[in-house]
Structures are given as structure tokens and as C-alpha cells.
Amino acid sequence: MSDERINIPYKGTPEQESQLAELLDDYKGTKSPLIPVLEQAQEIFGYLPEKVLKTISEELRISLAKIYGVVTFYSFFSLYPKGKYNISVCLGTACYVKGSGQVYEKLQEVLGIAGGQCTADGKFSLEACRCVGACGLAPVMTVNGEVHGRLTANMVEDILAQYE
């Protein structure tokens, strides 16, 4: 991971913070709350800012070190904000043998970023994923959950142009 991404200013709104407080109230005292709390906190904030992790640590009385360990273990969690449009290219086997590797390469080339990164204007972020389950449409990618299927590398630029 590149270091320049670590100091991202925290931009949480009061509404998001009160949602977090509510969430923590719901889970306090329940059995093994950490992962469900992180999942929902990420839904609220879009990613897991350090400040949010500290709040979770204090409220659930789980050490920040342990929380960091859990967050970095699972690929679902992100310590960094994603772009306005998050592109996820399926690199599952069915898509791979049908050429999703070339699509992924082309996206990196066109966007000028590597997988796991976000463009400087915050518009697009790119990641690889394993099987979204649309193997009949292989190779596929999703943009904010919207599925684009039967792709070729040549289609990439036209698809990106659909997103403002």
C-alpha cells in the first residue's frame, strides 16, 4: 500500500456519527459483535476511517490492535475511501478463462491506477473480485454494483464514458 493514502482527512458527518452510536448501542453486550459492527460501520461511512475504528475500540472495549488485525485480514474491509464509482472486475476462474485479465489490465491502463487504488479526482476506484455469480455473462465487471457482462478490453472506454 502506498503511504500517501494514509493521511486522508476524516469527513464523517454528524448524521453518520449518530448512526454509528446507534449501531454500537445495538451491539454492546452481544456475543462477538466486532465483524458485524465493522461491516455496518463501513456501510455508513463508505470505508473505515481511523477515527471510527477508535470509537469502536472504546465502545466495544476491544483493542485497536486487534481491530486493525481483523480489518486488514478481510478483503471486504477498506481503510481508504473508494471512488464515486467503484469498479470491480471479476477474476473468478470462469471469467478469467474468458479474458477478464485483459479487461482488468485495460482498466488499469485507461484509468492510470493499479488495482486497489482510486483516481486522483476521486471518480473511479478499481479492484478485483472473485466471482459475482454472473458466470453466464463472463467476463463481467460491476460499477457500483451494476453488472456489465460479455466484456472485451475494447469495450472498457465506452463503459467508463457512461459514468459522469
Binding site: 456475543k31 462477538s32 459483535p33 466486532l34 465483524i35 458485524p36 465493522l38 461491516e39 486487534k66 488485525g69 481483523v70 485480514f73 478481510y74 478483503s75 471486504f76 474491509f77 477474476l91 473468478g92 476462474t93 470462469a94 471469467c95 478469467y96 478463462v97 474468458k98 485483459q102 485495460k106 473480485c129 472473485r130 466471482c131 459475482v132 455469480g133 454472473a134 458466470c135 453466464g136 455473462l137 463472463a138 463481467v140 453488472v147 457482462g149 472485451t152 478490453a153 475494447n154
Partner: protein
């Protein structure tokens, strides 16, 4: 809380509705004269089936038919390649590749006038003597649906329809008429083995967890963390028939004496998670989960836990560690989970497909189940067919079916008339089955004997254009990424193995490296802590066993026979075929191609990035790999 009698009444009320969705059903029964079943599984949803269902409802209402025709959003029908698909009963008309524009015509012609619109049907169902049901097609005919029996038939968001198919009857039978020992005996006699890949006898597993002091807290878990890339069997069951999993888990709870279950499901399966939540609420409202089920003293409830994207969590001890809220790292066994599992208590864990078989075994008996399949692998297996195959989708076949049958007949062969090269089963833990084993009956033991494994059921077909070294590398990249890092043989061994494979595909390896590769594979296999590491070398070993000449070609001749490994070939233009149209040069993204109009063009290898655009654009097949 409903009683056994009330369950019967709900079944009687609903069985006509679900039975209507069969070929040759009694048309006189039920509230609606036509049922439109639209696939709302992930595959078809991705190609727009929800919009088609919405449009159907609008058009049906506009035609004033809303009290005569119902639209049901079902789970996966299986033939994902033709999505979105839908079936209209009573005609059993199988519409495929649906588009929004087809909807008005289908409503006005088929639903209003009763004329099936044959041009939009799956063409194999259209014959000279009228239409045939999908069950008569090559894709469906050899299949036998046990785990998937309700997928694509019932509305997964309506518990009454599940009950209409005989749902929760097995639980009632177990709670009111069977002892714990009877249930275990029935499972052992049936020969059911774990469908998640390991193939351990399910009844035995339950038996191990039955003992212990009375009153000990125990747990029942469902592994729905389907992580094999390209496998979607379990997701389809959860999306299409969620209650079957609850029912089976409750049966297990009764047998081992647990009152709490957990379903560990991938967060990447939003539709499945939604349907599970809806189904959970319905089951609790009916008292089929909760306290005193069917008026007995048996309590059982289920909670969902979402997986957060770690392949290793499909391993049972890692899954339990993850439910506990930790990094999903596996633990050494013994102690086995049946003795010390979730939260340190006795636990049984089965995967979704295993659970989906159990209620039917209880209802139809061990002998019925044991009559299907081969001697040591009873019953059926669901496979997710993908890759270079025409009928991409979900199939459930009796154990013992040959790969040839699956690929050539059910799968409809390979697109573009290409030659079958290999099929990959078992995902990153499995191996490749080559053409020489095309006729081996597929079951647990045969697959292991030929160097692969059943796995959870992903079956990816590869053709002559696929490089087997590249495929092995693809799986190794996956394992390196997903190794949890706890034990050294897996963490470092797989990384070193990947480096060796990279050396091979870069054309920098020597023959000794192949020996080193095999030695390293065996070390990783023997010394890793959990199944992830122990099986990680399988893709390498099996491709090396059956496609050794391909490895040698990479190392000795520095050539990739399939033309996949970029560092081992270059693009060239055949001057005899090139007509100098300039199409390739126009499309080349890096301006590596130059030449004059009507003269043969040339490619500058130092600029070429080997994207392959030139080859796809050339109309004269003048561009080739060398």
C-alpha cells in the same frame, strides 16, 4: 407457533399452487390460470430479469389479467447462459434470452390469447410436433434435482410455497416420531457425504457431536462461504430455497442437542442474504424456529453471520474463529469441532448443499437416496458449469456421470467448435481433468485418484487456447493472496512456488526448476496446517502430471503452445496474406504497427504490448502468434 396439524393444512392449501408448476399439471386447480416464473437468481438478475418481471406485471395489469395470471420471482433455473429466462405454466413454455421488448407481445399473444410465442422460446424446446418442456432438453434431461428441487419452482420469499412442497414435514417427522439415533442411522445408511469438498460422511459427523454431558451448549453451523472462484451452487440454493437449510439445521440441532445455529454467508451475496433474512422472519413468525417447535420441548434459532471476504474461512476451524469475531485463521485438529468448536463448544458444520439434501432423505428414506449415484458416493452433486462451454449454468447430476456427458451433452459442447482440453474441478484446491479421463465416472474417490477433487462443485471447462501453466499460475496467485499467513509452509511456500511458475512463463526457467517445483509442492502439501495449504499445490501437480509437455515447452523451447504467456511469443504479420488495409495499425493502442497502404504492414516487437487487438481486427487472418 403452528402445530403439525396446522402445517398439514398449510400444505394442503398450497400444494396445488406449487404442483401447477409441473408438466401436465391439473389445470383446473389453484387460483391463477397461468403462472409466470421469472428467474431472479444472481445470473439472470445481472442480465435484467427484475426489470422484465416488473414490466410483465405492468402489462398483465394493463390487460386486466392480474387476478388470472401471477408473476413469481424464483431462484435459479440453471441455464444461466440463456438468461434472463422464464417459464409459463401450464404450457411449460421456456422463454430464454428475454428482452424488455418481448414482454408486450408475450402478454398479448400468450397470456391473453393463449398462443405461445415460439420465436422467443429456447429453440431446443420447439419441435415439429409442438413445444416440449425444458425437462426434455439435453441440458435438463440427464439431471436429477434433489438439492435444487425447489429452485426455480417456488417463490423463495413465501414460506407457504415451501410448505406446499412438503417443507418442514421432515422436521415434524423427526421431532414427533424419530429418536436422535434413528435420524443418525438414516443419514449413515443413506451414504450422504459432505458436499463442501471433503466428502466426510454426514451421519458420522453428527454422531461424534451427540455425546457429552447433558446440558452442554452446542452449535450447528452452515458453511455458506462459497469462496471457490467460479462456483455458485450454494448461492443458488440460498437464493432459491432458503427454508430447506433452516429445516435441516433444526433437525441437526435436535439430534446433537443444540439450540442455536449460525449461517456463515458471504457478504458478496446480497440477494441470498436478503432472502435468508426474509425467510428467517417468516420461519420465526410460524414458530418453526424459536421456542417449543411443534409444541415439543425443542428450541432452536438461527443467526446470520456475514463473511467478510477471506477464502480461508471456508475451512471449518477458520470459519468458527471468524464467527467469534477474529481474524479467520484455522486451528490444528484435533480437537475436532464435534468436540471443541465454536466458542469452544461441540459444533457441527455442514455446507449448504449437504443441508439441502437432508429433509428429502428423512422423508423419502435412506434407501431412496442410496439408490442414486455410485457405491461410495451416493446421491447427486450440483456443479456450476463455466468457462469455455455453451450451456454455462447450474446442473445437478447423479454421482457417477462422466465428464464427457457433462461437457458434450448437458453442457452443449465447447463454443466455436474448439477442442476440449481440460476441466478444472475443486477450485484452487483441485486439479485439472484431462481428455484421457473424459469417461471416468465423476465421484469423490475417482476424482482424487486422478489428481483432482470434487470440491464444492465448480467445473470450469478449458479449450485448446488455454495454457495449463497459466491456469496453474492463476490458482497459485489466488492461494498466495488468500493464505492467512499463520503457518510458514503455506505462507512462504506458495509464494516461492508462484515465483517458480512466473520464471517458467517468463521463459527464464531451467529443467532443474521443474524438479524443484515438484519438491516444493510436496513440502507444502505435507506440512501445511489446514486444507488451504495442503491442497494449494494440486493445480500445479495435476497440470504437470497431464500436461508435462507444455511445461517442458515453456522451459526448453521457451514457447507457450497455447499462445497465452506473453513473454513467450510475438505477434507477426504474414506478408503473403496482408493486403495492407491498415486496420490493425489504426487500432493498435501503442502505434507498434506501421506500413504503407496496400503493402504488407509490420509489427515493431519492441513497442508491442501484446494486447491482441490486431489479431481480432484483421479480416484476412494475416496476424499470427509465433
Amino acid at each position: 407457533m403452528i402445530t403439525v396439524d396446522q402445517l398439514k393444512k398449510i400444505k394442503e392449501k398450497n400444494q396445488d399452487i406449487v404442483n401447477f408448476r409441473k408438466e401436465g399439471a391439473d389445470k383446473g386447480k389453484g387460483k391463477y390460470r397461468s403462472h409466470v416464473l421469472v428467474c431472479a437468481g444472481t445470473g439472470c438478475t445481472s442480465s435484467g430479469s427484475q426489470k422484465i418481471a416488473d414490466k410483465l406485471e405492468q402489462e398483465i395489469k394493463a390487460a386486466g389479467l392480474e387476478n388470472e395470471v401471477c408473476v413469481i420471482r424464483t431462484g435459479c433455473h440453471g441455464l444461466c447462459a440463456l438468461g434472463p429466462v422464464m417459464i409459463i405454466y401450464p404450457e411449460a413454455a421456456f422463454y430464454s434470452n428475454m428482452e424488455l421488448e418481448h414482454v408486450p407481445e408475450i402478454v398479448s399473444e400468450h397470456l391473453v390469447k393463449g398462443n405461445v410465442v415460439t420465436k422467443y422460446l429456447y429453440q431446443e424446446t420447439v419441435t415439429e410436433n409442438g413445444i416440449i418442456s425444458m425437462n426434455q432438453t439435453n441440458f435438463y434431461k440427464p439431471q436429477h434435482r434433489v438439492a435444487l428441487r425447489n429452485c426455480g419452482v417456488i417463490n423463495p420469499e413465501n414460506i407457504d410455497e415451501y410448505i406446499g412442497t412438503g417443507g418442514y414435514e421432515a422436521l415434524a417427522k423427526v421431532l414427533t416420531t424419530m429418536s436422535r439415533e434413528d435420524v443418525v442411522k438414516c443419514l449413515i445408511d443413506s451414504g450422504l457425504r459432505g458436499r463442501g469438498g471433503g466428502g466426510f460422511p454426514t451421519g458420522k459427523k453428527w454422531q461424534f457431536a451427540m455425546g457429552g454431558a447433558p446440558g452442554v451448549q452446542k452449535y450447528v453451523c452452515c458453511n455458506a462461504d462459497e469462496g471457490d472462484p467460479g462456483a455458485f451452487m450454494d448461492r443458488s440454493v440460498l437464493e432459491g430455497d432458503p427454508h430447506v437449510v433452516f429445516e435441516a439445521m433444526a433437525i441437526a440441532g435436535y439430534v446433537i442437542g443444540a439450540n442455536q445455529g449460525y449461517i456463515y454467508v458471504r457478504a458478496e451475496y446480497p440477494i441470498a442474504v436478503d432472502r435468508l433474512n426474509i425467510a428467517l422472519k417468516q420461519a420465526r413468525d410460524y414458530g418453526l424456529l424459536g421456542k417449543g417447535i411443534f409444541g415439543t420441548d425443542f428450541d432452536f434459532d438461527i443467526d446470520l453471520r456475514l463473511g467478510a471476504g477471506a477464502f480461508v474461512c471456508g475451512e471449518e476451524t477458520a470459519l468458527m474463529t471468524s464467527i467469534e469475531g477474529n481474524r479467520g485463521e484455522p486451528k490444528p485438529r484435533p480437537p475436532f469441532p464435534a468436540v471443541k468448536g465454536l466458542f469452544g463448544q461441540p459444533t457441527i458444520l455442514n455446507n449448504v448443499e449437504t443441508w439441502a439434501n437432508i429433509p428429502q432423505i428423512i422423508l423419502q428414506g435412506a434407501n431412496w437416496f442410496a439408490s442414486m449415484g455410485t457405491e461410495k458416493s451416493r446421491g447427486t452433486k450440483v456443479f456450476a458449469l463455466g468457462g469455455k462451454i455453451n450451456n454455462v449454468g447450474l446442473v445437478e447430476i447423479p454421482m457417477g456421470t462422466t465428464l464427457r456427458e457433462v461437457v458434450e451433452n448437458i453442457g452443449g459442447g465447447i463454443p466455436g467448435g474448439k477442442k476440449f482440453k481440460a476441466a478444472q474441478t475443486g477450485g484452487p484446491s483441485g486439479g485439472c481433468i484431462s481428455a484421457e479421463n473424459y469417461d471416468v465416472p465423476i465421484d469423490y474417490d475417482n476424482l482424487i485418484a486422478i489428481g483432482s477433487m470434487m470440491g464444492s462443485g465448480g467445473l470450469i471447462v478449458m479449450d485448446e487456447d488455454d495454457c495449463m501453466v497459466d491456469i496453474a499460475k492463476f490458482f497459485l496467485e489466488f492461494t498466495v493472496d488468500e493464505s492467512c499467513g499463520k503457518c510458514t509452509p503455506c505462507r512462504i511456500g506458495t509464494k516461492r512456488l508462484l515465483e517458480l511458475l512466473n520464471k517458467i512463463t517468463d521463459g527464464k526457467a531451467e529443467m532443474e526448476d521443474l524438479d524443484r517445483m515438484v519438491e516444493l509442492c510436496n513440502l507444502i502439501k505435507e506440512n501445511s496446517l489446514c486444507a488451504l495449504g495442503q491442497t494449494a499445490p494440486n493445480p500445479v501437480l495435476s497440470t504437470y502430471k497431464y500436461f508435462k509437455d507444455e511445461y517442458i515447452a515453456h522451459v526448453k523451447d521457451k514457447k507457450c503452445p497455447a499462445g497465452k504467456c506473453k513473454n513467450l511469443f510475438s505477434y507477426q504479420i504474414d506478408p503473403d496474406k496482408c493486403i495492407g488495409c491498415g486496420l490493425c495499425a489504426k487500432n493498435c493502442p501503442v502505434e507498434a504497427i506501421s506500413g504503407e497502404k496496400k503493402q504488407p504492414y509490420t509489427i515493431d516487437a519492441s513497442k508491442c504490448v501484446k494486447c491482441g487487438v490486431c489479431i481480432s481486427k484483421c479480416k484476412k487472418e494475416a496476424v499470427y502468434k509465433a
